[in-house]
Assembly symmetry: C2
Homo-oligomer: 332 residues x 2
């Protein structure tokens, strides 16, 4: 396939709180050693895209300044030292940036062949959620069979993936979400209990029930006043994992419980990890999760799709918090 020298990308206008997005032309990226060039079918939205557009989250050194951390696409060119992918392969890929464009280069170790039964457009909903859930819940958080997990933001892209995977690994799953509709969706995806945080305080709710529920692992993207409640809710040896701080990261808390209950507080951002670490996570996903994607047990959960030219509407949808699952940009 002939690759044009100029491609379309989505550009950030007025980077800052009141940014907007528009389509413009730019140089098609040049293929580097050990890379493949993908023609993008669709690109997954992540909250990090919004932070970057607002100027709060600069791309790491060496990464594209174009938004977009995951895509689905077709391999249309490859470096001669790439042997795991062929021209014409349809894959989804984790990127360090550049996904909001017609073409993007990717590391073949971070590409996954899309199974036939999954819509090639929808496959862009998989990489960030798979990597984030697997690394944070199962590697950092070491969630073990039959343990109980609490996922805040259960209806988010990460949350819905977390529910699916924890269910397959035989965990008890509790989530929080902001509406009854979202709570119902979480239960449908496999959660055992879902708390509407606009109606109930999750700590009071879980401690007032007859079983006085306590949990082994908490995946938190909220922070703020959730933190101290999380510490109260964790069992001895419990793990609290941060992947975002929607309500702020500056908190007042009593660390005594960390010592007396031998808790672990940790967290991570996927983007800041080294390429070696990302490849290590990818290998673990290929072994432990991708067979479940192929067998149809793990599905991309897509809230809505927008054409590239309506990227700003897609961002507004994510900012509204009304979505359930992933939002995608479609390259037509």
């Amino acid at each position: 396939m002939k690759v044009p020298e100029i491609m379309k990308k989505i550009e950030i206008i007025n980077q800052g709180e009141n940014y907007s997005l528009s389509t413009t032309n730019t140089q098609t990226p040049k293929l580097g050693k050990g890379e493949v060039l993908l023609k993008v079918f669709s690109s997954g939205l992540n909250r990090a895209d919004i932070f970057q557009a607002e100027g709060k989250y600069p791309p790491p050194l060496g990464a594209s300044d174009i938004l977009g951390l995951e895509v689905s696409g077709e391999v249309i060119k490859k470096s001669s030292d790439v042997h795991t992918l062929e021209i014409g392969d349809k894959v989804c890929a984790l990127l360090s940036g550049g996904g909001y464009a017609e073409y993007v280069t990717a590391n073949p170790e971070l590409c996954f062949h899309i199974p036939d039964h999954i819509d090639t457009l929808y496959a862009a909903a998989l990489p960030e959620a798979l990597f984030t859930v697997w690394f944070n819940i199962f590697q950092l958080g070491n969630l073990k069979e039959n343990e109980t997990i609490l996922i805040h933001g259960g209806s988010s892209g990460i949350g819905t993936m977390g529910i699916q995977i924890a269910k397959l690994f035989k965990n008890k799953i509790i989530v929080t979400a902001g509406t009854d509709e979202k709570c119902k969706a979480c239960i449908d995806f496999g959660a055992d209990d879902a708390i509407n945080y606009n109606k109930n305080d999750f700590l009071s709710y879980l401690q007032s029930n007859s079983s006085k529920t306590r949990v082994d692992v908490i995946l938190d993207m909220v922070g703020g006043d959730y933190v101290e409640k999380n510490l109260k809710l964790l069992k001895y040896n419990g793990r609290l994992i941060f992947i975002a701080f929607i309500n702020g990261s500056r908190v007042s808390l009593d660390l005594l419980k960390v010592m007396t209950k031998k808790l672990i507080i940790t967290g991570s951002t996927l983007r800041s990890q080294s390429i070696e670490k990302k490849i290590e996570i990818a290998q673990s996903i290929r072994k432990n999760l991708w067979p479940l994607v192929k067998s149809g047990n793990i599905k991309p959960i897509v809230d809505s799709t927008y054409p590239f030219c309506r990227a700003m509407n897609a961002h507004d949808k994510m900012k509204s918090g009304e979505h359930i699952g992933k939002i995608l940009l479609i390259n037509k």
Copy 2:
């Protein structure tokens, strides 16, 4: 050896902030299944003893209400199912309580034979420090060869043991302590740098030097305003371990660094761990540390010894914070 029915113990008078200690008579403890009875040579002081006497730290369920978490002594009786120790063996032992007395029962799995070259009285300085350092720094904190560790309270019983062991495992060691004399002692024990916290802020000191020192692991017994400084000082993948909160456990801090630097905040108290976990730690110590005690590379660091009848003076000494290494009570 004939065991008297009545023995001396140290009793807490007026449990609370203004407690005192005095010697009184009590029933000699009865030997249980799988236990040995020790005639106590000496008993190590721990800060937990003070908290218990002040009424802030009740003994765990099933533990003796007599103070004392470690002793050296002689096996004078053993249950028929104990095969690892013989009558007459001289050991030091980790206890769940009861060490401030003439006799105490112990779990043989938590007893260690005292090497000939170590004073039997001084051996009581070993168990709590060995268990606390090994479990927190090397197991929870996973300190690896050539990594840098910061130990707050470097001249304490735990601190001086931490310096010795980290030195043997080829780590770079920085400590904080409250006087120049204590700092000098820490350097003599093997620390690479020692910061007098009454003269220098450890964060400014370490960040203003030419190498802009950052650390992999921090062992903190201080808490309070040290916590946020600790988070700033840790490298990517750094670990912060709490074993006490001398300056308080309620803190205000920004957790963002936990996520962006993939830090781990954790901690533990030895006493609250299950007997199974303590035995597991003991087995690891027997394998990894006890050979170094036998070879003379790890030594008990003793600040001072007091006869049992002067236990209150020993507590006052610990409360003054003037000690370097362990304080022991001698049973004469």
